[in-house]
Symmetry: C2
Subunit: 457 residues, 2 copies
């Protein structure tokens, strides 16, 4: 029992290294193939050492016609080992057609869902999967081919949530050897992974080609995956810490970050932080690649104080000193133009009220209130949104300038400009809530005034 003892020690070390508790329930995902059968048989022995309670679960994928025989085999195996077995049938081909996803992905999703459900029902804290080192190398290569970033190249983790992969560092050859030593039969071809074109090419052509160049390639790739996974964990910490210090505003599916802080980060960390921010806003990174994040970074570093780009399921904008990420671009308010014929209140499109009232003498101005001598300003007045060509002379300025230029100087963001109510007489009198015009100040005036006030937002 040399190889059996060796692998049992490996699985036992796995338990120690991953800091897993003794005395828990473990559900074994049992396809009936070599990997899962070897896993079951090894865990059966580990269960004695570590007081584990084993259960097994088998999902009949209905992809191949022999699947009924597969069920019979795993039933027999578990009954001999006195391990409770949960079997369920899922018509994966039908589900795949219904959902429009591939056979392999559908199978994976169904299997996962089934395993989690059974684990919960049976009180199993962990679910053991039979992935071995060859699977890990394949996963790495498939992701390399697909052009995933570094994060994806960490491939499968030994532990992730309830899922354990105790054989992830064991070769297929060792698995076959242990089964032979135990004289344990298994199902040939019990997986549904052979439906994937890329995986097949990777397994049958790419990996053998690589093995011709380096016989220990699987081991090397597995070691590389471990290293990348370790560093991913480190990056995760760095990104979380950096992001926490950069958030200006965080809403549902929306995030604003401080630009100067972002620029102060090392380029590599900034890339990771941007990626993390995009993930927070979108919920995932599907369809995003490195080029998208780089485009975001270019916009961030660029000269334009306001700029925006549309990325897959993401709208990103630079607004002066902030970077603004949203799932969708913000709605621009529609242009408006209201006529005010006398004192009283009007309601603006954004819901706020603007009030016009005569007063015997000035009450004092503020951000939300202006006053003009009644002898120079009279009704009708206009309250409207910005028009191209508008000019404005802010209080204290030498002359008037294009309002657009004033917006830039005052760092009024694109989204605010269109909704900003302009009080207009023979000229723009007030950018309501922002600035009054230079003329007709009431600072030295003690007579009757028209007082215009805006409700706070």
């Amino acid at each position: 029992m040399r190889i059996t003892a060796q692998l049992l020690r490996a699985v036992d070390r796995f338990w120690t290294e991953q800091d897993l508790p003794d005395g828990v329930g473990v559900l074994v995902a049992l396809s009936g193939g070599a990997d899962s059968v070897a896993l079951l048989r090894l865990l059966e022995q580990l269960a004695v050492l570590r007081s584990l309670t084993l259960q097994a679960a088998h999902l009949d994928h209905a992809i191949r016609s022999e699947s009924a025989g597969d069920v019979e085999f795993v039933r027999q195996l578990c009954s001999e080992a006195r391990i409770p077995l949960y079997v369920e049938r899922a018509d994966v081909p039908l589900l795949a057609r219904q959902s429009g996803r591939g056979l392999e992905e559908t199978g994976r999703v169904e299997r996962r869902e089934f395993l989690c459900r059974v684990a919960e029902e049976t009180g199993c804290r962990f679910i053991a999967l039979g992935h071995h080192r060859g699977d890990q190398a394949e996963t790495f290569l498939m992701r390399l081919v697909r052009g995933t970033g570094l994060t994806g190249l960490a491939a499968m983790r030994p532990c992730s949530g309830p899922f354990l992969r105790p054989l992830l560092d064991v070769s297929r050859r060792q698995i076959e050897a242990v089964l032979e030593e135990m004289q344990q039969s298994f199902l040939q071809d019990a997986s549904n992974e052979d439906v994937n074109f890329t995986r097949n090419r990777v397994r049958h052509r790419l990996l053998p080609e690589l093995q011709g160049l380096n016989p220990r390639i699987e081991e090397r790739l597995a070691a590389l995956c471990r290293r990348i996974a370790d560093e991913e964990d480190f990056w995760q910490e760095q990104v979380t810490e950096a992001l926490a210090g950069l958030v200006v505003k965080q809403g549902a599916q929306e995030l604003r970050l401080r630009r100067p802080g972002l620029l102060g980060l090392h380029a590599a960390l900034r890339y990771r932080v941007l990626r993390g921010a995009v993930q927070m806003v979108r919920g995932d990174l599907r369809g995003m690649d490195g080029g998208h994040i780089e485009a975001l970074d270019r916009m961030l570093r660029g000269a334009a104080p306001q700029a925006e780009i549309h990325l897959p399921a993401l709208w990103a904008a630079r607004r002066y000193d902030t970077l603004w990420l949203r799932q969708r671009s913000p709605q621009r308010p529609a242009p408006f133009d209201l006529v005010v014929n006398g004192p009283g209140e009007i309601r603006l499109p954004d819901g706020r009220q603007m009030r016009f009232a005569y007063r015997d003498r000035p009450q004092g101005e503020s951000r939300l209130a202006v006053e003009f001598p009644t002898e120079v300003i009279g009704f009708p007045l206009q309250v409207r949104s910005f028009c191209p060509g508008d000019r404005f002379r802010p209080q204290g300025a030498i002359g008037s300038r294009k309002l657009k230029k004033y917006f830039m100087e005052a760092r009024i963001e694109q989204e605010q400009r269109q909704g900003l109510p302009l009080l207009v007489g023979d000229r723009i009198l007030w950018l309501a809530g922002v600035a009054r015009c230079h003329e007709w100040s009431c600072q030295e005036w003690d007579g009757p005034v028209l007082r215009v006030t805006l409700e706070a937002d």
Copy 2:
């Protein structure tokens, strides 16, 4: 001139992005193959935009019989373009045989040495190399195959020291297109890289296989290399900073680091720091792989307060709260055993003197001096190194214990133990420089004493 203009813009952007100065001298490494010819012709145009002074250098490798014709071709090319050309001949096959290195490596070393020399002689600050995106993908794959760590997967850098690779993000197809558009001829097969078995297999079998799975694989791999290179730069900063805070002692080919500080680092950073420390001590990382660094880490984290491992060209030891790295293990002092027959001086193997003298009354003890009443201690005395089985009762202790156990309690490192002089009468009287025995204290004694002093080290 569509593709020419496009690539010229790319090279110009390269200059900007890499922050390279205008008006400098650039030496073009010119093999005469498509890549280097395209590079020369593009830099010729960039030289106008950026006031560069171009020179070219060609090393005749003497590997293929047509190399004389190659020289004629590059001469003609440079003479037409009025670019000074430096040609030298190196008998690479002969040099390879003499040095015992491979043809490719010998060629690379010779070429580098030649280019650096010519650049210096001609006052060129930079050396431009023709590597393109396909070369980058090849380099990545060769290193992946060889099982290098993440650092190596950054592959070739766009800028490294004086070397520039302006075409690193340009495909071979684009290079061929630009030459065709310019109606510029070039040498087929002008490189000596086809002598490398692995490179050939990677180029002619692995890359095409990958391209079959993803036609944009070269682009993807090049992007991955860029990302890894960025992160390597970040790691370099992190490692330098972390190491600076961990050094206890730094000597020639030797380093001592604080263990608690190392353990406080994230596992991924600790791995990188250990790797950096090994590189500092050895000067390089040749022959070291991830497994070696992991072994070092295991020893560091392990329970044994003193442990050591031998790695390629490195001796590493844990000594209590420190990690000690050296190129070679420290020499252990030979055992010694000296007899002292009367007052006077003896010389210890480590060169220090030990002096024995009578005094009328106690002078006071210290780390380097002990005193015993003459009425209980007399000559001959013995000064010797530690023997297995030695027992010792330190001052104030209840009883005697194994000296080995005392060494552990007092955290005396392995290397000190053997050289430590023991003063022995009917028992061990003094661990010279460390502790005296419990008996025959002179604290309450006012008569004549034997005073033994050890020279400071």
